[in-house]
Amino acid sequence: MKDVTIFLKKEGLEVWRTKRLILILTVFVLFGLISPLIAILTPEILSSFGSELNITLPEPTSLDSWMQFYKNLTQIGIYILAVFFCGSVNGEIRKGSLVNLVTKGLNRSAIISSKFIMMMILSLSAILLSFFITAIYTAVYFPDNDSPHIVAGLIPFLVFVVFFSAIILLGSTLFDGSMASLLFTIGVIIVLYLVNIVEPLQAYNPIQLIGENLSLVEGTMELKALGLAIASSLLLAVTAYLFSMKLMNKKKL
């Protein structure tokens, strides 16, 4: 446990000094701002195509804003996180910076644990920041009651991010190159999307956690319905984490 705190301090200093912290927060602030903006602009843009398109556009609602938010974060945001963290373990091994620490007695599992904790702290705080910005702007620009359960919509996404971080961690421990680990992470997501076609497995699929957010926000679906997917995601996350630890113990530094 002491090893974990020591290594976490080093990790914290690293994201600060390499300016990664600022970069990641900036990007997610942007996502938070862009979502309500796109919701406001979509009808404007469509109507600028001229009046020959005789479609009546409904006024954008707060639900459109949240739709953009989840679209941006689940289709671009999480991959940016993957890009950020795909070199977290293998980059360190490549640089050889772990040799000294491990020979001086730093526990190898502590390295994996601290990396995982740091990854989760950064990802979750970036997403929460983005969520609050979208929430504020949505409340200001769309003062309606269409999206009553914004927190319920966010919870499964946060659980998914924990799962996703564990996959990134596993990828970066499994492969020596950051590109390979990035592809591994993307590959896992593709596999999950494919598995989602098989109906009996759907309820357990972590991908469910980033597909139903809007129904949750709207209130047409209850958080309970995702219980199985949440449980299986957390289970898979723990498995990936333990597996990474096992791999790390055997890894040549």
């Binding site: 300016k19 900036t26 903006l37 940016i80 890009v83």
Partner: protein, 72 residues
């Protein structure tokens, strides 16, 4: 050339302004870094400049993560 700012941009400046500022800052810092350095981990200067200028948000992020050399 008469470029009029569409009214909906003026109406929503509270949203536009921060986005514009953040995106430009991100792009500018990445561009300055690319131009000041000769060596990149992967790619070359032309590729990075094109990516940073034309791919919003993702371009600069990719540069800082993959292009920028680590020790300086």
């Amino acid at each position: 050339m008469n470029t009029e700012i569409p009214p909906f941009i003026l109406d929503n400046w509270l949203l536009f302004l921060p986005i514009l500022l953040i995106q430009l800052t991100l792009m500018a810092t990445a561009l300055v870094h690319v131009i000041r350095h000769d060596h990149y981990r992967i790619g070359n200067r032309a590729i990075w400049i094109a990516l940073i200028v034309f791919v919003q948000i993702v371009g600069p992020v990719l540069y800082f993560v993959f292009g920028k050399e680590e020790d300086e």
